[in-house]
């Protein structure tokens, strides 16, 4: 497998992990909204909290994490951009 192919394999892996986490915070938890709402977080009913703040914060953190991971992968295989590309 060439360097490029290995890089793409890892990139794909990261994409899949990212989308799994995305699925959990975007969909999975809201399938059980009424169960979640029986518990609370910071005084808010949990399902309410998750769509008002929780999931949104999770998405922000997820994208920052993804961007850093992807940069590491690019570095590992020597595909980092040069300054004046």
């Amino acid at each position: 497998m060439s360097n490029k192919e290995k890089h793409w394999e890892k990139t794909k892996g990261l994409m899949i992990i990212t989308l799994i986490i995305w699925f959990v915070f975007g969909y999975l938890i809201f399938m059980f909204g009424s169960d979640l709402n029986t518990s609370s977080f910071m005084g808010y009913p949990l399902a309410y909290y998750m769509c008002a703040q929780g999931s949104i914060i999770a998405f922000v953190v997820l994208i920052f994490w993804f961007a850093n991971r992807q940069e590491k992968i690019d570095e590992e295989f020597g595909f980092t951009e040069k300054e004046d590309d």
């Binding site: 989308l19 975007g26 005084g43 008002a52 703040q53 994208i63």
Partner: protein
């Protein structure tokens, strides 16, 4: 100051700008104390900010193609994040979102999840690859990846349809705000709004829009956060509302069961003469509706908004302006961060507004009190006079019940400062913020359409030999034509703000989502597949919309997929058709496959040249 070292000076420039804006707010507050009328303050707020945007637009004028289309690809990560956030948060987000939560509660908040989660798709599936491609517009990518003018043309059609549905709503919002703040008729307000929008984008294209959008983001976020924090502190709900409103949310639940959530019969509403568009609270604030269908409706709406986000060209094209692929990825994260500042505040504002109005123990509360007494309150009178609020004493007991108080959703953002007894300067600030939000989105959308038509249709298909001067002339002429068309439709008042906004997402996802991602992630995707997918997706989505929308054919939605969610049908059809047709046709040639390989790594030259 805008020459030479401009990029390095950005933090200083926008820092000064922010400071200047705060000084302006303080001056207005002093002027209010000195007896300046509310009307003058409103006019000054809107006029002052719009003038600043126009000046930025003028200073950013350009005669370079790459500056006009992609801001010269030198917008730093964080600033591009702010510009994207302004591009993204429309008049609807700013003015109508808190109102939507106020009336729709948890169910409505599917929009919040949907309008943020889409950025995960943008960052992991699309933005970095499109940046590496080096395209000027989204159809530019489709046209080059799949080859041929027809694929390019189909992408332009989808882009235009989706963006145009969206832009009329934005011009509508600028018109509403301009007419209210400047006390002019709505039809005139629409044209005033359009002129303001064009001042920002005409001379400098993407470069001018970028730098005005950053300025607009600063205004809109200040205008949204100050009232939220101020109200929360003034009314004693907590110093930091986002972490401290748990008790109030619980109290709302108790009040809901005390007053009862009554859904008024349509006949009663009609008999009482409630003006159109006004609603009463009939849905629980934080309660989750029971059952699988309710959960599916929540999830399917979030899905449409997320996939739509990742297909909307005016958002994707913002990531063409970063200096590198790496910066494009980071920039998506910053965009969502800046968006989250407002989106996490909207539910808090809705909570504050609701508790202020419906808790009879609070001095601001109106529910459960005698109607004669409430009619004496100044703000109640003012909003009833302009038909934005209404009282209908259904049971004739002279006491205002929860289901007897009607208001328009926008009132939540526009009137809550007044209800909580904040000075008028805050209402002026909110008007300026709403104007900034609607203008920035309208600018991004009009530019997306005009760029696609001028670059992809005029330059790439009609006249590939056109020189730079002619190309930019055509681009600017189209900007005016599209803006005018949008303003004309908006002035006819045929769409309500939210219906149309959701449709734009559904149109975009029906036609563009799979051709875009498969273009990067599936080498086997062919031209014929992409063309068939775009046509079939858009056609089936549109057909389903006509089939299900109450004002068209009005048939019962299939599996709860109503007119807000028709993109699910369109995108599924698009995927199936695109895969089947791609597999039936010959695989793309070596050059195309190599191009896809190149797109997948950040290093190296962009596929399309710096100037093309």
């Amino acid at each position: 100051m805008f020459k030479g070292n401009f990029i390095d000076n950005l933090p200083k420039i926008y820092g000064t700008y922010t400071g200047g804006f705060f000084i302006f707010i303080i001056l207005m507050a002093i002027a209010e104390q000195a007896g300046m009328t509310a009307k003058t303050i409103g006019i000054l707020f809107v006029a002052f900010t719009v003038c600043i945007y126009a000046i930025i637009g003028y200073l950013s004028r350009t005669v370079q193609v790459d500056a006009y289309y992609v801001a010269g690809r030198q917008v730093p990560t964080v600033f591009n994040g702010m510009a994207t956030a302004a591009d993204w948060m429309s008049g609807a987000s700013f003015v109508a979102m808190a109102g939507g939560i106020y009336f729709g509660g948890y169910t409505y908040m599917a929009f919040l999840v949907g309008w943020t989660g889409g950025y995960v798709l943008v960052s992991s599936l699309l933005a970095p690859y499109l940046r590496k491609f080096g395209c000027y517009t989204v159809p530019d990518f489709i046209g080059t990846r799949y080859g041929g003018n027809f694929a390019r043309f189909c992408a332009v059609v989808v882009l235009t349809l989706a963006s145009f549905t969206y832009v009329t709503a934005q011009i509508n919002a600028t018109g509403t705000i301009a007419s209210r703040a400047l006390s002019i008729p709505f039809e005139l307000g629409v044209w005033v709004g359009l002129v303001s929008i064009l001042l920002c984008s005409m001379l400098g294209g993407m470069r001018a829009v970028t730098w005005t959008q950053v300025a607009q983001y600063i205004v809109l976020i200040i205008a949204y956060l100050i009232p939220v924090f101020w109200i929360s502190n003034k009314s004693g709900f907590g110093f930091f509302p986002h972490f401290m409103l748990g008790e109030e949310v619980a109290r709302l639940g108790a009040l809901e069961s005390q007053f009862g959530l009554v859904k008024n019969a349509a006949a009663d509403i009609k008999a009482a003469g409630v003006p159109g568009g006004l609603k009463s609270i009939a849905v629980s604030h934080a309660g989750v509706p029971e059952g699988g269908m309710a959960a599916w409706k929540f999830i399917s709406l979030a899905l449409c908004m997320m996939v739509g986000t990742a297909s909307l060209p005016h958002i994707l094209m913002r990531y063409f302006t970063t200096p590198s692929v790496k910066a494009a990825r980071k920039s998506v994260a910053w965009s969502l961060f800046f968006i989250a500042l407002l989106y996490t505040s909207a539910p808090m504002l809705a909570t504050l507004s609701k508790i202020s109005l419906i808790d009879p123990n609070l001095p601001t509360g109106i529910i459960g009190k005698p109607i004669a007494e409430i009619m004496q309150i100044e703000w109640v009178n003012a909003w009833i006079n302009v038909k934005q609020a209404f009282i209908a004493d259904f049971n004739g007991d002279g006491i205002l019940q929860l289901n007897e108080w009607f208001m328009r959703g926008d009132v939540v953002v526009l009137a809550t400062p007044e209800v909580a007894g904040l000075p008028y300067v805050i209402s002026g600030l909110v008007a300026a913020g709403g104007m900034a939000a609607a203008m920035s989105t309208a600018d991004g959308l009009i530019l997306a359409i005009a760029n696609a038509l001028s670059h992809d249709i005029y330059y790439k298909i009609i006249d590939p030999k056109a020189d730079v001067r002619k190309r930019l002339l055509v681009a600017r002429a189209l900007l005016i034509v599209i803006g005018a068309a949008g303003a004309y439709i908006a002035s006819m008042r045929i769409t309500s703000i939210l219906g149309a906004v959701a449709w734009a997402f559904d149109f975009a996802m029906s036609g563009l989502f799979f051709p875009l991602i498969l273009g990067v992630w599936w080498k086997r995707a062919t031209r014929q597949g992409a063309i068939a997918g775009m046509i079939a997706g858009l056609a089936s989505g549109t057909a389903y919309l006509i089939y299900v929308y109450p004002k068209f054919m009005g048939n019962a939605p299939w599996l709860g997929i109503d007119h807000l969610r028709f993109g699910i049908i369109g995108a599924s059809v698009c995927l199936v058709v695109m895969v089947v047709v791609s597999l039936m046709t010959e695989e793309p040639d070596k050059a195309t496959q190599q191009m896809v390989d190149e797109v997948r790594v950040p290093s190296g030259k962009t596929i399309l040249g710096k100037q093309h």
